[in-house]
Amino acid sequence: MRLRFPFTLPPFRFDRATRRLWKDLFMSVAALVCVAIALMPLVSILFEAGARGLQSIQPGLFLFDTRDGGIGNSIQGTLILVALSSGVALPVGILTGVYLAEFGKGRVGTGVRFFVDVMTQIPSIVVGIFAYSLILTLAFSGLVGTRLVFSTVTGVIALATIMIPFVARTSEEALRLVPISTREAALALGIPRHRTILRVVLPSSASGLITGALLGVARVAGETAPLLVTALGSLYGFSGLDQPIESLPHTIYTFGLSPSTAENQAAWGASLVLVLIMLTISIVSRVIVRLRSVSE
């Protein structure tokens, strides 16, 4: 006898079999309630950002810079920050992943893995302060201009520092999924180890690597705290690597706290744009995984 949830209640008897049905009913309801609780903030964020954001979506929002109440420079800034951080963090992160998966068997590997794990746990504001004080120290010692303290470069250092351990770990996991038999097949053909890794192992785990990279991108695209103390924010468009730069999360922060209702409204538009960017990235990564698994 199988309970058909939620349409039938079990009979009000309490022999062993019926007790199980009641327990089953109770647990199913509890699980559903928990799912609803977990989804509530997500749905409400999407709904609020969608409903309120849509009202402020109009050409002016994208055409104007934050000085004039638009978010044109924020989108540009976020794209620049994310592109530059990815340019630094993806090669370093993926190569670290390759090291951990292919070579990091001994004590050094365990140590590196431990530190990478610790780095993924560091609060992002701490990473921001790190980038800030790094450049500040360099500026004090005269190696770089003091202007660089609040700049695109410092922001990129912070974001890349957040991204590297994340990408390293996801890459390592993706590479570990490639079976040893695949590596052995290549080695047994007389293919050198480095070429086995580059031409056989990395392509075999491409979908995992791409997913990890995109999730890393999504992660830093939404970071606010480290940018407050590094990239600072700007009312204008990109004006040089040594200049402060605006970003979407920072615009949401400043517009959201602004006394101007027009700017409050624009903050919702910026939120919607940011959510859509994240959503696109996560859908694209899923599509990539699906496409690659079908072709196999």
């Binding site: 038999s181 052995e184 097949a185 080695l187 047994a188 053909l189 070429r195 056989v200 392509p203």
Partner: protein, 250 residues
């Protein structure tokens, strides 16, 4: 028959555990040599020492001499050795992201061959040699993982043949296959010995009796007996061999 591979005093370890001990034997050119023995007796370890695949396992090491045409393979670069001594594994392991064509061409391509017509010729020749050409000639661009188990194993044989080795090592190549696919591979092994020296590890004694010219019986990492297949199965010298082939242990 000329000796192709000469093995002398070969021992191998996984960490502190000794897997094979002081093996000495000769593999004759253009013959099929089978290595039989119960699970864990060191059959796979032995053939993996013949093309230096043993050392790819962390903490594994080997000692002793393995001479290919009189040259010590442990003095040569490992990649050179592996190109001359190809290997087919227990479980078919085509490259999952590559097409049938690319799988066979992989060894040539990743060793630097770029000339398209040479690659085409190599792929054709190898697939024919592995008796797979007729079945896949219209689907060379399809994924290698989509083939049946027996076809995948023949694809792996074609891939190994494409780099034109002189010796082909086979580590229980039929243990995951049904009897029909097994028969195809066995026929293939019989044809292959004209052009190659074949060493096959098997836990299936009938298979050894069917395909091998010579058979070696390994037990607990030691070579117990090694002679003509027929003699080994009909007139074993050692009591241990007799017990094993009559199924009284193992």
């Amino acid at each position: 028959m000329a000796v192709k591979i000469h093995v002398e005093g070969l021992s191998a370890w996984y960490g502190a555990k000794k897997a094979i001990q002081d093996i000495g034997m000769d593999f004759a050119e253009h013959e099929v040599t089978a290595i039989i023995g119960p699970s864990g007796c060191g059959k796979s370890t032995l053939i993996r020492c013949l093309n230096r695949m043993h050392e790819t396992i962390p903490k594994a090491r080997a000692e002793g001499k393995v001479l290919l045409d009189g040259e010590d393979i442990y003095e040569l670069p490992a990649v050179t050795v592996r190109r001359q001594i190809g290997m087919v594994f227990q479980k078919a392991n085509p490259f999952p992201t590559m097409s049938i064509y690319d799988n066979v061409a992989a060894g040539l391509r990743l060793n630097g061959e770029r000339n398209r017509s040479k690659l085409d010729a190599g792929v054709l020749k190898s697939l024919k040699a592995a008796a797979l050409w007729d079945e896949v000639k219209d689907s060379l661009d399809k994924g290698g993982a989509g083939l049946s188990g027996g076809q995948q194993q023949r694809l792996c044989i074609a891939r190994a043949l494409a780099v034109e080795p002189e010796v082909l090592l086979m580590d229980e190549p039929c243990s995951a296959l049904d009897p029909i696919a097994t028969a195809k591979i066995e026929d293939l092994i019989f044809d292959l010995k004209k052009g190659y020296t074949v060493v096959i590890v098997t836990h299936n004694m009938q298979q050894a009796a069917r395909v091998a010219d010579k058979t070696a019986f390994l037990y607990l990492g030691k070579l117990v007996e090694f002679k003509n297949t027929r003699d080994l199965f009909e007139r074993p010298d050692q009591e241990l061999t007799e017990k094993y082939i009559t199924g009284r242990f193992g």
